[in-house]
């Protein structure tokens, strides 16, 4: 709780954040087969998909959760939307605790929260006409008084997202990936929400189409004053969208900071690693040595700080004691013993510095053990 307080204390007076998440947890049980349980007394295993995370999102702002597969970022999205129940923790939307409310309830609040999914080929019902897909939320929340008004509203939404009102009579398969994602967006904003959860909304799209969708989402934010929880694994996309960035690793937030701070002075070694893996289009860093190692299996994460087997700064404390998210610089919080103890070399700003672009990854991670020693099986 103290962590939430410190985050809350930082906000300007009089404007409560739209979403406050505190100590959120979601554990999934992995059932063992019946015979293994009976004969070998095997216990159910627990996957701590989300293991105690705290964040807040201010009105009209974007928080991005980034991380690699298995870090729990999509689980957070589903928890916030109420698509799955929480194990523990609080999700407070506009002052109301939703952590134990069933999906869809209370309707008055749920209308204001909508979600855009990753794969527009899977998230639209292939047997429905686009008009019906977009009108469904309008009917669910009884937002239109008459059929004619509903038709007008669907036409308006289609045109708002850059499609043609006539497209409403088509089926999803008649559209390209980018157009389908526009349909998903039209459906999501049909209820006039304040808050959109976007789970990798462009990772299934080609880059030229991704640019269209990202531009549209920024425009929508400006025009409609939307607040986004934007989930992505692509830091360059996040740089374009986010005001705040939360970096997740195996169910925990390792860094939570304003976007500029993350890019200008990344603190956590994992954040530095992620920044280092962004391919450089200027070709200035060709031939650099990539950082070794992979994300471990979330069923059996390393003890202490989950990142320690890959971390060049790991010490005995990191192997036993999980670090807490603590404030470090410029409003940023980091969960890292090395940062807290001041044993981490300052990071070189990537990109924002404008001038010297480093020629290898070593500057970010300090001295790195030879790759062979770090490979985990």
């Amino acid at each position: 709780m103290t962590r939430t307080m410190s985050l809350a204390a930082r906000r300007p007076a009089g404007t409560a954040p739209l979403l406050e998440v505190s100590d959120l947890r979601k554990h999934f049980a992995l059932p063992r087969p019946f015979l293994n349980r009976v004969l070998q007394a095997e216990q159910h295993q627990l996957v701590r998909a989300v293991d105690g995370i705290d964040f807040t999102i201010e009105r009209g702002k974007t928080l991005s959760l980034v991380g690699e597969s298995g870090c729990g970022k999509s689980t957070v999205a589903k928890l916030v939307m109420g698509l799955i129940g929480t194990t523990s923790g609080r999700i407070v939307f506009d002052g109301v605790d939703l952590s134990h409310a069933p999906a869809g309830a209370p309707a008055k609040l749920r209308r204001r929260m909508q979600m855009i999914f990753q794969d527009p080929y899977a998230s639209l019902n292939p047997r429905w006409r686009v008009r019906d897909i977009i009108a469904e939320p309008l009917q669910t929340y009884r937002l239109c008084a008459s059929r004619a008004e509903e038709t007008r509203e669907v036409d308006r939404l289609l045109e708002f997202v850059g499609l043609n009102a006539k497209d409403g009579d088509k089926f999803p398969h008649e559209f390209s990936g980018g157009q389908r994602q526009r349909i998903s967006i039209a459906r999501a904003i049909s209820t006039k929400p304040d808050f959109l959860v976007c789970d990798e909304p462009t990772s299934a799209l080609d880059v030229s189409v991704q640019a269209q969708i990202l531009n549209l989402m920024r425009e929508m934010q400006r025009e409609l004053g939307l607040t986004y929880l934007f989930i992505s694994h692509d830091l360059a996309v996040v740089n374009f969208m986010a005001d705040w960035i939360g970096v997740m690793y195996l169910g925990r937030l390792v860094e939570l900071a304003p976007a500029e701070t993350v890019f200008a002075s990344p603190q956590h070694p994992y954040t530095r690693l992620l920044l280092d893996t962004i391919p450089d289009l200027t070709m200035a860093r060709r031939g650099r040595e990539p950082v070794a190692g992979e994300v471990p299996n979330p069923i059996d994460p390393p003890p202490g700080c989950h990142f320690h087997p890959r971390c060049p700064f790991a010490e005995s404390r990191c192997r036993s004691e999980p670090p807490q998210l603590r404030e470090t610089v410029l409003g940023a919080s980091t969960a890292c013993h090395a940062v807290e103890e001041g044993r981490l070399p300052p990071a070189v700003a990537s990109g924002f510095a404008g001038g010297a672009i480093p020629t290898d990854g070593a500057h970010l991670l300090g001295k790195i053990a030879p790759p062979d020693q770090q490979l985990v099986g």
């Binding site: 690699e68 597969s69 390209s176 990936g177 980018g178 157009q179 080609d206 880059v207 030229s208 189409v209 991704q210 640019a211 269209q212 990202l214 531009n215 920024r218 694994h233 692509d234 830091l235 360059a236 996309v237 740089n239 374009f240 976007a259 890019f263 690693l273 992620l274 920044l275 893996t277 962004i278 391919p279 450089d280 289009l281 200027t282 070709m283 860093r285 060709r286 040595e289 990539p290 950082v291 070794a292 190692g293 992979e294 994300v295 299996n297 990537s350 990109g351 924002f352 404008g354 790759p371 062979d372 490979l375 985990v376 099986g377």
Partner: protein, 322 residues
């Protein structure tokens, strides 16, 4: 002479509603030891071009025109045993998803030994020794233990390392890598790309790297060919194509990639999307989306015209007019 010459390649798919041309008049060469990036968005024909080179086009698709020559000898019309001697031995392949490129019912050792013995005259024991060496070479720890494990016992990155070992173990001279890192996490992508590059350089093997990711190209390729709607839009040295793109499509593509650095108000975007193969416009295929379109673009289909150290298929360039 170039290692590989692709000359006016055309791949067609007959359908009930007419013939679709997936690869349309594509020509390029690959020199020995060179990394050629083949980029484009989905439906551009880049994977199909790669598949045509190793004879992996699924019927009813077929090569309908042009030639593919390896060391001057035609390989586009090979069948049966003759094709098998080229595929695997001369040209190796790496695909996107390592889990589907490996047989789940055999250990990685079985698969490596089989591949090695198919192409090289070695005994089982020798092949196994070589397989262990290969696993060590691609950075798999404890290779003498891991060789007897099954693909599901490896992580995604480790699996792709095994696939790289499989592609390289017959010592091919050309590797076709089709989106080799797309299914992997970002921190593993860089490792796999670096490994592939290092191994191919050491063995002087050329690579055709098929990808949609300009970042991967920027870090790896010597030259780049940009494809659009089954056609080559532009080809040239990586620096020229990425930094001073000639074709309006390449320019738009480069502008639409979000980057690290000061945040722009808007990304440059290309209107619309790639046309379906059944619906390719007359003239230049890019004309409905092009910001520099003029009357001729709707009439003439541009040819590749020399520009700088490369070539570009755009009517704004001299020599592109047919």
């Amino acid at each position: 002479m170039a290692l590989l010459e692709v000359d006016r390649l055309r791949v067609e798919f007959p359908t009930r509603n007419g013939t679709l041309t997936a690869v349309d008049d594509v020509s390029f060469t690959v020199e020995e030891g060179e990394v050629l990036g083949l980029v484009g968005e989905s439906g551009a024909g880049k994977s199909m071009t790669g598949a045509a080179i190793i004879g992996l086009i699924e019927p009813p698709g077929h090569i309908a025109g042009g030639e593919i020559r390896l060391d001057g000898g035609r390989i586009d019309a090979l069948r049966g045993e003759a094709l098998r001697k080229v595929r695997g031995k001369q040209i190796g392949a790496i695909f996107q998803d390592p889990l589907t490129s490996l047989n789940p019912l055999f250990t990685v050792g079985d698969q490596l030994v089989e591949t090695i013995r198919t192409h090289l005259p070695l005994s089982v024991a020798e092949a196994r020794r070589r397989a262990v060496d290969w696993l060590a070479e691609v950075g798999i720890p404890a290779p003498d233990k891991r060789i007897d494990q099954y693909p599901h016992q490896f992580s995604g990155g480790m699996r792709q390392r095994v696939v790289i070992a499989l592609a390289l173990c017959a010592e091919p001279r050309l590797i076709i890598a089709d989106e080799p890192t797309t299914a992997l996490d970002v921190s593993v992508q860089a490792q796999i790309i670096a490994l592939l590059k290092k191994l191919c350089r050491e063995r002087n093997a050329a690579v055709i790297l098929v990808t949609h990711d300009m970042g991967v190209i920027a870090e790896t390729a010597d030259r780049v060919a940009v494809m659009y709607a089954g056609r080559l839009a532009e080809i040239g040295p990586v620096k020229q194509v990425l930094e001073k793109p000639n074709h309006p499509y390449t320019a738009g593509l480069m502008g639409s990639i979000p980057r690290i650095g000061p945040r722009p108000e808007r990304l440059i975007q290309i209107a619309g999307s790639m046309p379906r193969l059944s619906d390719i416009p007359a003239g230049c295929a890019f004309n409905p989306r092009c910001t520099r379109v003029f009357a001729d673009c709707h009439v003439h289909r541009p040819r590749l015209a020399a520009s700088g150290d490369g070539a570009v298929a755009c009517l704004h360039y001299e020599g592109a007019r047919p």
